[in-house]
C-alpha cells in the first residue's frame, strides 16, 4: 500500500478533441480505473476503451448536441482512494456518469458514496452478485451468467464429480464459491468431493496445492478445477500446472478471471484445452466484433493488443447509457435510470443484450478452450441469460429479488413482501 496516495485529491482531466460543430456544453463522463498499483494491469485497458468510445461518440455528433468529455482519475488500486475519488468526481468535477472499478472491494468502497450522492456508475466486470444498487448498472456477468453455466458444463459435458474450487482470497471468489458449493450440493455432489482453497493476491508457491488437486484423482471420480484466481497469481498457477504435465483431459480447469489480456503474458502452448467462461471472446466471428477490434487497434495503434469481456461490457454499457440519455433528453440520474430499464443493444458476439430492471444484463454465456495462440475456441454459447442479482442457491438470499421498475427496491423479500433496504450492503 502506498500511504500518501490515500489522500490523492485532484483529478487528471483528459480533454478530448472537439467533435464537429457541437454546442458549447459538455457532458462529463467519469472514468474511475486504476492506472497504477496491482490492478493497473487489467484496468488501464478499460480506461483506454472508454477514451475510444467517448471519441467515437464525439465524432458521431456528441450527445444531445453536447460534446462528451472524459474525466480520468487514478485510484491507484487503493480501495479508500476509490471512495474518495468518487466523491470528488461527483461533487467537484460534477460528472454525469462514472464508468469504473474492477475488483469487488473497490466497488464496495464506492457504493456508499454513490448512494449518498445519487451518482450513476457502470461496473463492467463479472462479479459475485448478491447486490443490486439503485445507482449502479452491472454490465459484467453475475454468477448465474458465468459461474453456474460453467459448472453445468463441467457436470454435464465433462462428467466432473469432484471439484476443487481454488480462489484468491477476496470477496468475489469467496461469495462465488459459497454459491457454487450450495449449487453443487443441490446437484448431488458429496460435500467430501468439494475442496476449497484460498490464496493471497500474487501467490507464487503453487506446487503443494496443485499436487493436492492431482491427488484428489485417486478418490475415483473425475476431478475438475474451478479457478477464481485473480491477477498475477495465475502466472505461477498455470506454470505449475504445465510443469506437472497436467492434461486438460485428465484435469480440466475452468477460470472465471482469466481472459485474453491475462493470457497475453503466458506461454499458452502447454495450457491448450483448459477453459474459461465469459460473455465475450475476442475470437467471436461476427461483423460487429471485427469492427470493434479494428477500431480498437486503430485507436491504440498496436495490432497485437487483444480485446476482452470487460471491454465489451463497457462498450455495451456506454452505448446503452448514450441511448438512455437520448431517450430521456437529459443526463439527470433518475431520468436516465428509468430510461435504462429495458434498453437493448447488440452484443459483439451476436444477439441482443437487455438491461433488466434489476440493473443486470441479459447476455449469452460462452465457454472457450484455450488455444496455443492465446485465444479461445468458443465451444459453447447459450441463449441470452438474465443476470440474477440474488442467488437462489444461498439460503439467505433465496427469497430476495430486485426490481427497481416495479417494486422500486433492490433487495425485496418475496416472502414477507417488504423491501429489506434501499441502500446496499457495503
Amino acid at each position: 500500500m502506498n500511504k500518501p496516495r490515500l489522500l490523492a485529491s485532484a483529478a487528471a482531466t483528459a480533454l478530448l478533441a472537439a467533435g464537429p460543430a457541437l454546442a458549447d456544453c459538455t457532458i462529463k463522463v467519469g472514468v474511475l480505473h486504476s492506472l497504477s498499483g496491482s490492478m493497473a494491469i487489467s484496468e488501464t485497458t478499460l480506461r483506454d476503451v472508454m477514451l475510444m468510445l467517448v471519441e467515437q461518440q464525439n465524432d458521431a455528433g456528441g450527445l444531445l448536441g453536447c460534446e462528451l468529455e472524459a474525466v480520468v482519475v487514478d485510484p491507484a488500486s487503493d480501495w479508500p482512494l476509490f471512495s474518495e475519488l468518487t466523491r470528488q468526481l461527483i461533487t467537484v468535477d460534477e460528472v454525469d456518469v462514472i464508468f469504473g472499478a474492477w475488483t469487488s472491494v473497490a466497488r464496495k468502497a464506492v457504493l456508499p458514496v454513490l448512494e449518498e450522492l445519487n451518482g450513476l456508475m457502470f461496473y463492467p466486470v463479472q462479479y459475485e452478485g448478491q447486490e443490486s444498487s439503485r445507482n449502479v448498472f452491472y454490465t459484467g456477468a453475475a454468477p448465474n451468467t458465468q459461474a453456474i453455466p460453467a459448472v453445468d458444463y463441467f457436470l454435464e459435458e465433462l462428467g466432473v464429480e469432484s471439484f476443487a474450487l481454488l480462489g484468491t482470497d477476496y470477496v468475489y471468489p469467496r461469495t462465488t464459491n459459497a454459491i457454487l458449493e450450495a449449487y453443487l450440493l443441490d446437484a448431488g455432489i458429496d460435500p467430501d468431493d468439494i475442496f476449497v482453497n484460498y490464496t493471497p493476491f500474487g501467490h507464487s508457491d503453487w506446487s503443494t496445492i496443485v499436487s493436492d488437486v492431482v491427488e484428489m484423482g485417486a478418490g475415483g471420480k473425475q476431478v475438475g478445477v474451478i479457478s477464481t484466481i485473480n491477477g498475477d497469481a495465475n502466472v505461477g498457477f498455470y506454470t505449475e500446472l504445465a510443469a506437472q504435465g497436467i492434461d486438460s483431459f485428465d484435469l480440466p480447469v475452468v477460470a472465471f478471471s482469466v481472459g485474453e489480456e491475462e493470457l497475453s503474458g503466458l506461454d499458452t502452448s502447454r495450457l491448450v484445452g483448459h477453459l474459461a467462461a465469459w460473455n465475450y471472446f475476442m475470437s467471436a466471428d461476427t461483423e460487429a466484433n471485427d469492427e470493434f477490434i479494428a477500431a480498437w487497434h486503430e485507436f491504440i495503434g498496436d495490432e497485437s493488443r487483444v480485446t476482452n469481456d470487460p471491454m465489451e461490457a463497457h462498450y455495451i454499457g456506454f452505448n446503452m447509457w448514450v441511448n438512455a440519455v437520448e431517450e430521456a433528453g437529459t443526463t439527470d440520474v433518475d431520468a436516465v435510470r428509468e430510461a435504462m430499464w429495458g434498453q437493448e443493444f447488440p452484443n459483439l458476439t451476436g444477439g441482443m443484450a437487455v438491461m433488466n430492471p434489476n440493473h443486470h444484463l441479459s447476455k449469452p454465456v460462452l465457454i472457450g478452450e484455450i488455444r496455443a495462440d492465446g485465444q479461445f475456441d468458443i465451444i459453447s454459447q447459450t441463449e441470452e441469460v438474465a443476470g440474477e442479482a440474488w442467488s437462489p442457491f444461498l439460503e439467505e438470499s433465496a427469497n430476495l429479488t430486485s426490481d427497481w421498475q416495479e417494486l422500486g427496491c433492490g433487495m425485496f423479500d418475496t416472502e414477507t413482501e417488504t423491501c429489506v433496504q434501499l441502500t446496499s450492503n457495503y
Binding site: 500500500m1 502506498n2 500511504k3 500518501p4 496516495r5 490515500l6 489522500l7 490523492a8 485529491s9 485532484a10 483529478a11 487528471a12 492506472l35 497504477s36 482519475v73 487514478d74 491507484a76 487503493d78 480501495w79 479508500p80 471512495s83 474518495e84 466523491r87 470528488q88 461533487t91 467537484v92 469487488s104 472491494v105 464496495k108 468502497a109 457504493l111 456508499p112 458514496v113 449518498e116 448478491q130 482470497d169 477476496y170 470477496v171 469467496r174 461469495t175 464459491n177 459459497a178 484460498y198 493471497p200 493476491f201 444461498l394 439460503e395 439467505e396 438470499s397 414477507t416 417488504t418 423491501c419 429489506v420 433496504q421 441502500t423 450492503n425 457495503y426
Partner: protein, 398 residues
C-alpha cells in the same frame, strides 16, 4: 530551544509552556486553522472548501497525531518502531466494527419493523451477520463481534486493543533486550503478522474487504456528509491538540530527560539505576494507545479500512515523515507528516501540472516516488535534523 531544554531539567521544574514555547505557537496555529476550515467549509461556512478537502485535511490531522506519537517513541526514546501503523489500524478496526454493526442493525430493525411478529434478538443479530458477512460467503457473527453493537465497549477497545498488544509485545521484546535494528525488524514482523492475520477471512473482520461504509454514522444517518466531515475535522483537531499537549508534557521534565538519555546511551542509564525497560515500555504503550485513537478518528473519514492499510510499508512511511520533518521535535513530526502526505496526494493525484521538457515529459505520478525516495536519502545524509532543524537554526539566529 535545544539549549533551554538541556539546562532546564536539572535546575528546577519550570512550567511546561516555558519549557516548550512551541506548544503555544502550535495551539494557536491549530486553532486558527480549525476556525478557517470551518468558516470555509460547505457544512458550516461559505463552501469554498469542498467536503472532500475537509475530509482530507481531517485525515491529515490524524496522520499528524500518529506522527508525533512516532516522534516520541523514536525521536525521543530511540526505539525505531516500524509497526506503529498496526496500532493505528487496530483503532480503526475497533471503531469500524461499531459503525458497521450499529448502522446495519438500524437498517435491519427498520426493515423488520413492518413484519407481523416482532423479531427476536437472535433473528436481528443473524440478519445483521448475514448482511455484514455475506461478502465473505458466511452468515454467522464471529465471536469478536459479540459486543460490536455497544459504542462504549468498542471505544474501550480503541484504547485497550492497541495498548495491550503494545504492552505484551513491548514487555517480551524489551525484557529480552532486543534493541536497535533487531527491534525494528521485530516490530515490522509484528505488523506483517497482523496484516496477514487480518487478511484471512477466518479472522472475522471480513478479510481483504475490510470494513466499509464507515462514513455513515449510526444515529446521524440523515446528517449530510458536509456536516459530518466538519464534526470529524473538529474531533481530529482536538485530538491532535490534546495529543500534542500530552506528549509535550511527557517529554519535558525529568521523565523526558530519562528517555532521551536512554536514546543516547541505554547501558549508562541502566547502570545509573533506572528501570530502562519500564520507561521504554511506558513510552511504547502510550504512543500505541494514541496511535489507536488517531486511527479511530481517521477511518470514519476515509470510509473504509482493510488489512493493506497496516502492511509494513505504511509504518516505514511514518518513519520517513518524522525523519523529514525532524526527529526529536514534536512540531517537526507534524510538519513532516502534513507536508509529505499532502504533497504526495497533490502530485500523485494528477493535480500538479506535468512538465514538458521537449524531449521528455515529466509526469509527476510516475516520478514523485523516485524523487521522494532520493530526497529522503539526501535528508538522511545531509540534514539529519530534517525541516525542524531549519526552524531551530532560525530561532537561534533571533
Amino acid at each position: 530551544m535545544e539549549m533551554s531544554r538541556r539546562t532546564a531539567a536539572p535546575v528546577k521544574r519550570r512550567h511546561l509552556l516555558q519549557d516548550n514555547p512551541s506548544v503555544l505557537w502550535f495551539m494557536g496555529l491549530l486553532g486558527l486553522f480549525t476556525l478557517g476550515v470551518t468558516v470555509l467549509s460547505e457544512g458550516f461556512g461559505i463552501g469554498l472548501i469542498s467536503t472532500n478537502l475537509v475530509k482530507i485535511l481531517g485525515m491529515t490531522l490524524c496522520l499528524c497525531l500518529i506522527a508525533i506519537a512516532m516522534d516520541v517513541v523514536w525521536g525521543y526514546c530511540g526505539i525505531l518502531s516500524l509497526g506503529h501503523f498496526a496500532f493505528f489500524g487496530l483503532g480503526g478496526y475497533a471503531i469500524g466494527m461499531w459503525l458497521m454493526y450499529a448502522r446495519t442493525e438500524i437498517v435491519i430493525r427498520e426493515s423488520l419493523a413492518g413484519s407481523t411478529i416482532p423479531p427476536t434478538e437472535r433473528e436481528v443479530s443473524e440478519a445483521v451477520a448475514s448482511q455484514i458477512f455475506s461478502v465473505v460467503g458466511s452468515n454467522e457473527l464471529p465471536l469478536i463481534w459479540s459486543f460490536a453493537g455497544s459504542l462504549p465497549f468498542q471505544l474501550a477497545m480503541v484504547v485497550l486493543v492497541p495498548g495491550l498488544l503494545a504492552l505484551v509485545f513491548g514487555w517480551l521484546a524489551f525484557r529480552s533486550r532486543v534493541t536497535g535494528v533487531y527491534l525494528s525488524i521485530l516490530t515490522q514482523a509484528m505488523t506483517l503478522a497482523l496484516s496477514l492475520y487480518l487478511f484471512q477471512n477466518d479472522t472475522g473482520l471480513r478479510g481483504n474487504n475490510g470494513l466499509s461504509g464507515l462514513q455513515n454514522i449510526p444515529g446521524a444517518l440523515h446528517v449530510p456528509q458536509s456536516v459530518i466531515s466538519v464534526w470529524f475535522f473538529w474531533a481530529s483537531a482536538f485530538a491532535l491538540g490534546a495529543g500534542y499537549l500530552l506528549f509535550a508534557w511527557v517529554v519535558s521534565g525529568k521523565f523526558g530527560s530519562v528517555i532521551r538519555a536512554i536514546r543516547d546511551n541505554e547501558a549508562r542509564v541502566r547502570f545509573l539505576g533506572y528501570n530502562v525497560e519500564g520507561y521504554k515500555l511506558f513510552v511504547f504503550t502510550l504512543t500505541a494507545v494514541i496511535s489507536g485513537i488517531a486511527g479511530a478518528l481517521y477511518y470514519p473519514q476515509a470510509g473504509i479500512i482493510n488489512p493493506a492499510e497496516i502492511a509494513p510499508i505504511a509504518s516505514i512511511y511514518l518513519a520517513v515523515w518524522v525523519a523529514i520533518g525532524g526527529r526529536g521535535r514534536l512540531y517537526g513530526a507534524v510538519i513532516g507528516a502534513a507536508l509529505v502526505s499532502l504533497l504526495s496526494s497533490w502530485l500523485t493525484g494528477g493535480g500538479a501540472p506535468n512538465i514538458d521538457l521537449g524531449f521528455y515529459r515529466i509526469i509527476w505520478t510516475d516520478w514523485w516516488l523516485v524523487m521522494l525516495g532520493l530526497g529522503f536519502v539526501l535528508v538522511t545524509l545531509f540534514f539529519p535534523k530534517g525541516i525542524g532543524g531549519l526552524f531551530d537554526y532560525l530561532v537561534r539566529k533571533q
